[in-house]
């Protein structure tokens, strides 16, 4: 079973996911975004891992989430990398320190071009000890 679900959005792509902690929510949102973008090839000769440090600020957790995913999209496009692992070193409501690790795009079949992360209908909720968020991507 997928760790996130797709929302039926007419023009774009939407995802919904839950997590026990905010850190996990941020990590899973990034995993889900790249799962929508690319599928790893099964061939051998994979490129070496590329690791990028990321530090960001925001005025609240939702803005920070959009900035986090936008930063990963920028790095993915400009460095031609697909990220597969995310380590959140520290995360508060307005600061984030993390590492993202990935491999060259040539090791993947690209499926969807995500142009950007939007703020539309974005809300992080906490219910019964679970964080939940839905995110709409422009494709």
């Amino acid at each position: 079973m997928k760790f996130y679900e797709r929302i039926d959005h007419t023009g774009d792509i939407g995802i919904r996911l839950q997590a026990k902690t905010l850190k996990e929510l941020f990590q899973n949102a990034a995993c889900a975004m790249f799962a929508e973008m690319a599928i790893p090839l099964e061939s051998t000769g994979k490129s070496h891992d590329k690791k990028f440090p990321i530090q960001l600020k925001g005025t609240n957790a939702e803005e920070l989430l959009v900035r986090w995913l936008s930063e990963l999209l920028y790095l993915s496009d400009s460095k031609q990398v697909i990220f597969t692992e995310f380590k959140m070193e520290s995360l508060s409501e307005n600061t984030l320190k993390a590492f993202a690790t990935g491999r060259r795009r040539r090791d993947f079949t690209m499926t969807t071009e995500i142009k950007a992360v939007t703020y539309h209908d974005l809300k992080i909720r906490k219910e019964n000890d679970l964080y939940e968020v839905q995110i709409i991507f422009d494709v």
């Binding site: 797709r6 039926d8 959005h9 007419t10 023009g11 774009d12 792509i13 973008m37 005025t59 803005e63 959009v66 900035r67 936008s70 920028y74 496009d77 400009s78 031609q80 795009r105 690209m110 499926t111 969807t112 071009e113 142009k115 950007a116 992360v117 939007t118 703020y119 539309h120 209908d121 974005l122 709409i136 422009d138 494709v139």
Partner: protein, 485 residues
């Protein structure tokens, strides 16, 4: 997908539905949806109508928040949304009213070839176009620009491309704003945007972007068609793409920055993706200057792709493009904010017109049109889907009520995930083959997600804009060759 509930729609005539300003206390103007009864059934299935209401909250919005018959759920604005704001009355500019793919647009190039001339070369032609025009996710251009060339491109758009030999001055007359919007400032564009855009000039991208070889198969306005040298059976090429990673990054950079303007200027909007700044504020002016850079990039992108299209035809047919009369009919932007003069209550005002999935449609005699369109009006290019039709319309005076705007395409009616569950690749390709359509695409997923059935019938859409008096149909084109990302 949640339905639009409890939003009252007052039918004014067979293709106008008004949302009264009294519906929500935050609305500054009424909403107006252009649709037929049939199209409205689909429109009501998602959140697009709610988004028309949300746009009516924007400070300084003039007359009404509008949506064209190809409308569907977007982010912030609905796709198909049109809103003009008056800077003198606190009017705002919203990056969400333009979108991430700034100046996504369409151009149509005619030839003097008929379908009979190309039929036996069609596979070769589509293959050559597919090889010469990079498409698909992360596709890279053969062009490499220095930093100073990149800045010049952002300043001059298609004019840069023509100066490099990728077209002629006649192409510029057939491009909105002559392919170069004034007021672009490349100095404020982030390094990140340059980095993302530098290797993508002349690339199609993916998703709904395409290059199609089409055949004119029906003429509705013979006198206009004749003025544009269009005839039944004629082959043309339609190119649909935008500003690629550069545009996405510019929009992203300014979305985050403009979010702070909501508290600074005490603006309340129901959706953060509608974040905005007064047009005349430093933030508003800076966004517009950067947005124009992306718009110019998109014009240059389509100009270079047209150049490669001409080269492809030259290679396949062993004639030069001039002798095949491969002249540009027109190039239109459909994701953009423009400062334009419009009459408001008897006064001429300079307004900031947002077109988010909507096309400018100036009538005959409009001072911003090149002399050759003065008599007939501005050509308006409406792409449909890859299995049915596209249309060429012409701007008319009736579109004054929409600030001379009309629809931009067929409009999606089915999400990508539903398309994946509904259609199979082999069946989509077989259906196209049965219609004599040759397709080459980088991604199988794209072919499924762009199947004909995910779109509204573009004929119904253009019939509404014609019936509403927003544009007039000139001719219909059917696709015969499709290049997708």
């Amino acid at each position: 997908m949640s339905e639009t509930v409890n939003i009252p729609l007052r039918q004014l005539d067979p293709c106008r539905y008004q949302i009264p300003v009294s519906y929500n206390p935050g609305m500054r103007v009424p909403g107006m949806i252009y649709a037929s009864e049939k199209l409205l059934q689909d429109i009501l299935k998602d959140k697009a109508v709610e988004q028309v209401v949300n746009v009516a909250f924007l400070p300084g919005i003039v007359k009404q928040s509008m949506a064209m018959p190809d409308m569907h759920w977007g982010y912030g604005f609905p796709i198909g949304g049109v809103a003009a704001t008056d800077p003198q009355k606190g009017g705002v500019v919203s990056p969400g009213g333009v979108g991430f793919d700034i100046n996504c647009g369409v151009r149509f190039v005619r030839t003097n070839l008929t379908f009979a001339d190309i039929q036996k070369h069609l596979k070769d032609l589509v293959g050559t176009l597919f090889d010469n025009v990079p498409s698909g996710l992360g596709s890279k251009s053969g062009l490499r620009l220095s930093s100073s060339e990149g800045k010049h491109l952002l300043l001059k758009g298609s004019q840069w491309a023509v100066a490099q030999g990728y077209g002629t001055s006649t192409d510029l007359e057939a491009t909105e704003d002559y392919g170069s919007i004034k007021g672009a400032n490349p100095e404020i564009v982030s390094q990140r945007a340059y980095e993302r855009g530098k290797s993508q000039v002349g690339t199609l991208g993916s998703g709904n972007h395409f290059l199609e070889v089409q055949v004119v198969d029906q003429i509705f306005a013979p006198e206009i068609a004749q003025e544009l040298s269009l005839f039944e059976g004629q082959v043309g090429v339609m190119i649909h793409c935008g500003s690629r990673g550069l545009g996405y990054q510019i929009c992203d950079d300014y979305c985050h920055g403009i979010m702070k303007c909501l508290s600074k200027y005490q603006i309340e909007v129901p959706d953060r993706q509608l974040a905005c700044a007064p047009v005349e504020s430093p933030e508003g002016q800076e966004y517009l200057s950067a947005m124009r850079c992306a718009a110019n990039y998109a014009f240059a992108n389509r100009q270079y792709i047209m150049h490669m299209t001409r080269k492809s035809f030259e290679k396949v047919f062993r004639k030069n493009w001039e002798s095949m009369d491969m002249n540009l009919i027109y190039d239109v932007a459909h994701n953009i904010a423009k400062m334009e003069k419009h009459p408001v209550n008897g006064d001429e005002r300079v307004l900031c017109v947002h077109r988010k999935g909507a096309t400018r449609a100036f009538p005959a005699g409009h001072p911003e049109l090149a002399s050759r369109y003065q008599k007939i009006g501005q050509p308006v290019i409406i792409p449909g889907d890859m299995g049915r039709f596209s249309y060429l319309l012409i701007g008319v005076e009736g579109a004054r009520e929409t600030f001379y705007s009309c629809c931009h395409g067929a409009g999606r009616v089915m999400s990508r995930s539903k398309a994946t569950k509904t259609f199979r690749l082999d069946q989509v390709i077989k259906d196209l083959e049965q219609k004599g359509i040759v397709i080459q695409a980088q991604s199988k997923a794209t072919v499924i997600e762009e199947a004909s059935g995910v779109y509204k019938d573009v004929t119904e859409v253009v019939d509404v804009v014609e019936q509403a008096g927003l544009s007039r149909k000139v001719c219909r084109m059917r696709p015969v060759g499709v290049v997708k990302g």
